[in-house]
């Protein structure tokens, strides 16, 4: 499968939030303002790339040769949790600007299922390292696109007259349904399954 196709499929056609329903907690949790969505997206991009690389190396250099594939769930989640802690400490000490921009989002990322899902997809689709990198980039970009678009919609919903029963989550869900409907237009293009 060629590289551009993997990126675009992960970005639009198989959009991780709107088509695959992974990573919904931050999608609804932090999408109340455009600025917080951008911070969250940056943190996701960063950790997703690192997690793809680390999990790829661990899986192919350690788990596969030793016949320990059944441990992958436990290993990946622990590696991601440790990685997030490490990144947080590193940024706090050496890259102050970046830390102040996305520091508060980093602890939330451990429980972000999008990160863990990407490491599993990389294995299920039998990607090589380059393909896995592109897939992680595309997925993170798709996450950013969906969450930032949606945050812009929610900022406007704040001022809209909505019946009390639909205030908050219900109208957000229905807004997400409409954004998702728009993304369905890409389905016929190409996808990975």
């Amino acid at each position: 499968m060629n590289s551009a196709k993997i990126f675009l499929a992960a970005f639009l056609v198989n959009n991780i939030i709107l088509m695959r329903f992974i990573g919904l907690c931050p999608f609804f949790g932090v999408s109340t303002a455009v600025s917080t969505s951008i911070g969250m997206s940056a943190a996701v991009l960063f950790v997703m790339l690192l997690a793809s690389w680390v999990s790829y190396v661990l899986y192919h250099a350690l788990l596969l040769p030793l016949g320990l594939v059944f441990l992958r769930t436990a290993v990946f989640i622990l590696v991601i949790a440790a990685l997030v802690q490490f990144v947080e400490m590193f940024l706090k000490k050496y890259v102050k600007n970046l830390y102040s921009a996305m520091g508060i989002y980093l602890p939330l990322i451990t429980t972000n299922c999008a990160i863990l899902a990407v490491t599993f997809f990389n294995i299920n689709y039998k990607f090589n390292l380059l393909q896995a990198t592109l897939f992680a980039l595309g997925t993170a970009a798709g996450f950013a696109l969906a969450i930032i678009l949606f945050a812009a919609i929610r900022e406007r919903l704040e001022d809209a007259p909505i019946s009390p029963a639909f205030k908050g989550y219900p109208i957000a869900f229905i807004g997400a349904a409409l954004v998702s409907l728009a993304f369905m237009g890409f389905t016929a293009l190409f996808g990975i399954s």
């Binding site: 709107l18 088509m19 695959r20 329903f21 992974i22 990573g23 919904l24 907690c25 609804f28 059944f70 441990l71 992958r72 769930t73 436990a74 989640i77 622990l78 949790a81 429980t111 972000n112 299922c113 863990l116 899902a117 599993f120 997809f121 299920n124 009390p164 029963a165 639909f166 205030k167 908050g168 989550y169 219900p170 109208i171 957000a172 869900f173 229905i174 997400a176 349904a177 409409l178 998702s180 409907l181 993304f183 369905m184």
Partner: protein, 207 residues
């Protein structure tokens, strides 16, 4: 330290079903609720897998709560949860291959389901084994109920069937409302369900 009357054991079981329903009231564990409810069978299968993990992890966390050092409790919870996820992963692969193929990556993703880690941290770590078992069971029933309702409604409108059996006339099944089984339909339906819950809650408050 014990202020007020001790809540009865039964309330641990029942509170998770409606009053503290994980998906519709606490709004956690949304990913499987939307992704694995294309049919009633998929929804129920997912709910059973997650319930197994939730009940078992609650019991084990509660059993070892006195020997777990406070500072490393979260990694220990994660290892316990991922052990049970691995068990159910392999059991489903062996005995329910069709269901496993449909649920796909969502079976290993049970490990990051916020309901399970949330209950381990908020309840099982501070309560006895029987109470934790009942709490896990109650939350599981609440979760399963929502998945079953979503799955049934989406299958009914999206393919005109119920557990694979035809319930609507053939003319409808030839051209069903596909919107319901596509991703937008899932968002739309849970929006309507949550609005219904809000409306009931608002009605109760105004009385």
């Amino acid at each position: 330290m014990n202020n007020g009357p001790k809540p009865s054991r039964l309330s641990y079981l029942t509170s998770g079903i409606v009053k503290e329903n994980p998906t519709l009231i606490l709004m956690i564990g949304l990913c499987p609720t939307l992704a694995t409810t294309v049919t009633a069978r998929d929804g129920l299968g997912m709910a059973l897998a997650a319930s197994f993990v939730l009940v078992c992890s609650n019991v084990v966390v509660s059993a070892i709560r006195k020997i777990v050092p406070d500072s490393v409790r979260i990694p220990i919870f994660i290892i316990i949860i991922s052990t049970f996820v691995t068990i159910i992963d392999y059991v489903m692969q062996a005995y329910q291959p069709d269901l496993y193929r449909v649920l796909g990556v969502f079976v290993p993703l049970i490990v990051v389901n916020c309901i399970i880690l949330g209950r381990a941290e908020a309840f099982a770590y501070h309560h006895g084994i029987i109470d934790s078992f009942l709490d896990g069971l109650g939350k599981s029933i609440g979760f399963a109920l929502v998945l079953f309702i979503m799955g049934t409604l989406r299958e009914f409108f999206g393919s005109g069937t119920f557990f694979g059996k035809a319930v609507l006339p053939a003319a409808y099944r030839a051209q069903p409302m596909l919107f319901a089984i596509f991703p937008p339909g899932a968002f739309f339906l849970i929006g309507l369900l949550k609005a219904l819950v809000n409306k009931t809650a608002l009605g109760k408050r105004s009385q």
